[in-house]
Amino acid sequence: MKQFDELSLLEIVDEVKDGDLIGIPADYSGVPMMFTKELIKKGVKDLKLYCLPLTTIQGDMLIGSGCVSEIEAAAVTLGEFGLAPRFSKAVEAGHILIKDSTCPALHAQLQATEKSVPFMPLRGVIGSDIQKYRKDWQVIENPMKCSGHKNEPILLLPAVQLDVLIFHAPCVDKNGNIQIGRRRELATLTHASKKVFVTTEKILDIDFFDNELSAATCLPALYVDGISVVENGAWPCALPGVYGQDNDEIKKYSIAAKTQKGFEEYMQNYLFN
């Protein structure tokens, strides 16, 4: 029997339901843009984006298309190409709820789920307005007598489990093991998600576990619910080690999306041409 489920892209899209808490990889981790395109076409609603720890064009497009009701992130930006325009406008207008966070907190909340513990402590953050507005976070005094400092206030973050995660990977082996290289945050996201789907450039007729190097840089198939081959699946975002970001396209988007009308024209072309 085949050791993994090969799905069509639309079958993966169908796994995402209205209201889902969905994992969003950073621009350097393999953004599933082809998937995102189909998700927008489907007209999914009320998504809650959990960004690890930030999002660029993927989050901005989903927000601009009205698919998002809530986002938890440390940043939403187009990087060198400036602010994420649909995100900024949506927050200013109060159309989406933003749960402002900071990168290590977003990692730690998923790490708690990885370990199946109810919370994770984190240093720093105390005294910031991030902490002030996060009613789901708590500060306690360090209860340990043998570690840390006496009377030290420490921040506790709740464990967060994602409903679904989709990311794009360079390649998959014949048993469905996913090559993630050094992008280990994809493993963190995966471990903390109820369902995981991967789009990939290609499936190779080899076994990553035959070789120590490829074994160390793969995500085992046991965590993954389905795989779809989608060539150029991260475009216009980068796929680490395979292709770079299409700077011309991101620039084009950054200019068009400054207004809702420009965004809609851009999306009409992006989605249907």
């Binding site: 950073a26 350097y28 981790s29 690890l52 720890p53 930030l54 992130a73 440390a74 940043a75 939403v76 930006t77 990087g79 060198e80 190409f81 602010l83 994420a84 995100f87 900024s88 927050v91 200013e92 109060g94 402002d100 966070s101 900071t102 990168c103 290590p104 907190a105 990692h107 790490q111 984190l122 240093r123 720093g124 953050v125 105390i126 005294g127 910031s128 307005d129 991030i130 902490q131 507005y133 840390g148 400092h149 009377n151 030290e152 206030p153 420490i154 050094r182 992008r183 280990r184 945050e185 994809l186 493993a187 963190t188 680490p240 080690g241 700077n247």
Partner: protein, 245 residues
């Protein structure tokens, strides 16, 4: 006299602050700090010293293999000496705001967000605040939102914090005891009076205030002939704009 771009002068100012480091890390949207860190590393090599540099947005100039969380774990372990933070607003007590202007619940202009500042500011011994625009709207009396505070109560774990603030007009040093910036250097075309006028917070002026130091020919050569190409790997737009590569 060498014709210098303003960005090159700023890279040179930052590189001067990095000479004693063992490990410098550079985060998002930071081409000038990235170039400065790589410049400091190249110059250290020539002196037979070793500086490690981790540029987060580079695949090549990056020491991490354990995913995006490694930067924060590494910093918390005390293995990063210098990190750079910016801000939509920076105030006189070195609080930084990367979130937006106006009241948080009814925000006027929304910016990207706090990134990792709320931990990095606490644990990295030398945080250099870098914001090119020097104006009353960026350097304010009080920030609208605190992404990360400039100082903390004594019982808070805080080995790190602000040391310097560099803008395209001036270099300040932060005095932790006084919770106040002190003006150290100004751009050649600037006067102290003008800096006072363009700064939204009050600050001290150092007795030995000088102009920003002009890099010598050797440094400029390293920057243009070597560092520029390295920067183009991770900030292509910037490298193209400054050096045409």
């Amino acid at each position: 006299m060498i014709e210098l771009k303003r960005e090159e002068l700023l890279i040179s100012q930052l590189a001067d602050l990095l000479v004693n480091d063992k490990h410098i890390a550079v985060g998002a949207a930071s081409p000038i700090p990235g170039a400065a860190a790589l410049l400091a590393k190249e110059e250290a090599k020539l002196q037979n010293n070793r500086i490690r540099v981790t540029i987060l947005h580079s695949n090549k100039y990056n020491n991490f293999t354990d995913g995006a969380r490694e930067l924060f774990d590494c910093a918390a372990q005390g293995r990063i000496d210098t990190f750079f933070l910016g801000g939509v607003q920076i105030d006189g007590e070195a609080n930084i705001n990367l979130v937006g202007t106006g009241s948080y619940t009814k925000i006027q202009k929304r910016f990207p967000g706090s990134f990792g500042s709320a931990l990095m500011y606490f644990v990295v011994p030398q945080i250099i605040l870098f914001r090119e625009e020097h104006s009353p709207r960026t350097l304010v009396d009080k920030v609208d939102f605190i992404s990360a505070p400039g100082f903390s109560d004594e019982n808070i774990y805080r080995p790190g914090g602000p040391k310097f603030l560099l803008t395209n007009r001036a270099l300040f040093k932060f005095n932790k005891q006084k919770k106040r910036f002190c003006l150290l250097k100004i751009h050649n075309n600037e006067s102290i009076e003008n800096i006072i006028k363009l700064t939204g917070f009050k600050f001290d002026v150092d007795d030995k205030i000088t102009n920003m130091s002009i890099p010598d020919q050797t440094r400029v050569d390293i920057l243009r002939n070597k560092i520029s190409y390295m920067v183009s790997e991770f900030y292509p737009e910037f490298a193209d704009r400054i050096w045409g590569i």
